[in-house]
Amino acid sequence: MAIVGYLIRRLLTGLVVVWLVATLTFFLFFARPVYTVARQVAGHAATPQVIQQAITNLGLNQPIMTQYWHFLNNLVHGNLGYSYYTGESVDTMLKQDLPPTISLVIGGMVLWLIVGLSVGIISATRARSVFDRVASIGVLVGLSMPAFVVGELLIGFVFQPLYSHGFHFFNTGYAGITSGIGPFFGHMILPWITLATIQAAVYTRLSRGQLLETMGEDYIRTARAKGLSERRVIFRHGVRAALTPVLSQLGVDMGQLLGGVVVVEAVYGLGGIGQVSVEAVDQDNLPVIIGFVIMAAIFVVIANIVVDLLYAALDPRVRIT
């Protein structure tokens, strides 16, 4: 019962956050003169009349509060507005471009958690071994590399040579899972690796440090003293306690993750919502960007609720209230 109340409260605060983000983004865009937008939409050789017409068409001549009210009203009804250029509904545009983004986020996250946590755990249990030293160098390099550099190097020195030698498994662009498991993986593996390389470094370092600290606790000695196998001591008593800070890091990283998604999509031409937004920037296509910002806010809010629930499930000291 408590969990229902908790969920309702969290969703309500989440709604406030989304509203704040939407409002801020909306008003932010009014720092830009209306005329410039209309001019761009109407084309460079447009006469003043055509530009005026474009302003009226886009509804930019109405008072700001009227536009804001209109925007909010649409938003509540799940309508994010229409592209300035094609007149296409932003909802449809974003919905169409969601599959690559979702594949990227889920696959990348699974990969980076597996790699990050397992390397971290092995490093901690064999502190100062050769493995640990190599891993810590890898972590530093991962922390220092921007995602787009990893992506470009992978394209330039893995994908391209293989492709030109007739090995066509890896590919850029996006192929949905409906086109078969093989092509899907071929298209997604490099983007997943790119996204995971950057993030795994943070998690390796964090889980190693946490586990080392946990393994020094008295209850670990107790667990060993009562004759538990080392594996059981590490996984049931050590890792479980060390995981909670890793989870809260995951909550913090949700925002960063979307940034990474934008970059990886741009590098590999996956055509997800991140890439569409970057293209929208080039065209000053405001409704698309506002739509992306709002979707990002919703994603961050929901992901954080999920992380907090997991947190409570993992750590018995945390009670949902």
Partner: protein, 358 residues
Amino acid sequence: MSLNTDLEFEAHQVDEAQNRGGNAPVQGRTQWQLTWRRLRSDKVSMIALAVIVIMVLLAIFAPAVAALTHHPVDFPYPVQGENEDGNPVGPGVNGFILGTDSTGRDLLVRILYGARISLFVGIVTTLIASVLGVTVGLIAGYFGGIIDTVLARFTDAVLAFPYIVLALALAVVFGPSLTIIVVMITFFSWAGIARIVRGQTLSIKEKEYVEAARSLGAGPFRIMFFDILPNLLAPVLVIGTLYIPNAVVFESTLSYLGLGVQPPTPSWGNMLADAQNFYQVAWWYLVFPAAALLITTLAFNLLGDGIRDAMDPRTEKLIAARKMRRRLTRRAVSKGNKEALGGLVASGTAAADTGKKG
């Protein structure tokens, strides 16, 4: 086992120091002097520091390099700088040390000019963000209550916000420029520093000396900036050093996406974006800017880790032990006698025995 030997070596060294020192007065060292001493003995940190200094010097003297090579930064060489297909020429060809880029400009000169932007953005944003973060963190941690709640929530919101997404929005509104980049990176950097400073302030403000200052009639701002702040400088220095590479990465990512520094002004990010179209014919165009970027961020990360270790007094013992062990092994090896190591330890024990008897 290894810990035991470490301690033995340490004890040994303390004995030695006492014997050598005799009645010499004990020399006082401040915390910073101690940190610097520990940092100096860490080879990796010193190499990282040297790399950073060289990078900064190269960035400052980039125009001098351009003058030396006679290749102005934005000047294309369609004849010497491109091969017959119109593609970039490789390193060392026609006097281009690192080759040329897509329009036949000197890659070395452009990388060095790119370093100016990267280092400027990295250092300036970190400085501003540190001042902001320290102020917010101090105020939130010291006053507590509603002020803390509001500031802490705001900090959390900034930390959770997808910054590239907002960067997209801002780039549309204001148009990409260096000022916007600096403002944007600063805006997303202060929050992490504020959070750490707040946590530290919460614990420091309960210390007796703060109470003493208050009982002497010091006001809140005096206490915050004269009593608490000096104790926060160490963690802020560490996190600041680690924020510089983040800012460098952020700037290059924005420029890569076309939201940051605009061509023809060179930045590592926009060079790499352009290099993307040429990696089949010009690997150097991709590799050298990427290497410059990686070396810079790696050096700052290594230095930051080194400073953090050096701030930790426990590190001293480890270093002393390592040094001692190395000296002993070297002595043993130079004598060409493996027993020497054992002999030394034995003689040490013997000396200790005689000492006890005497």
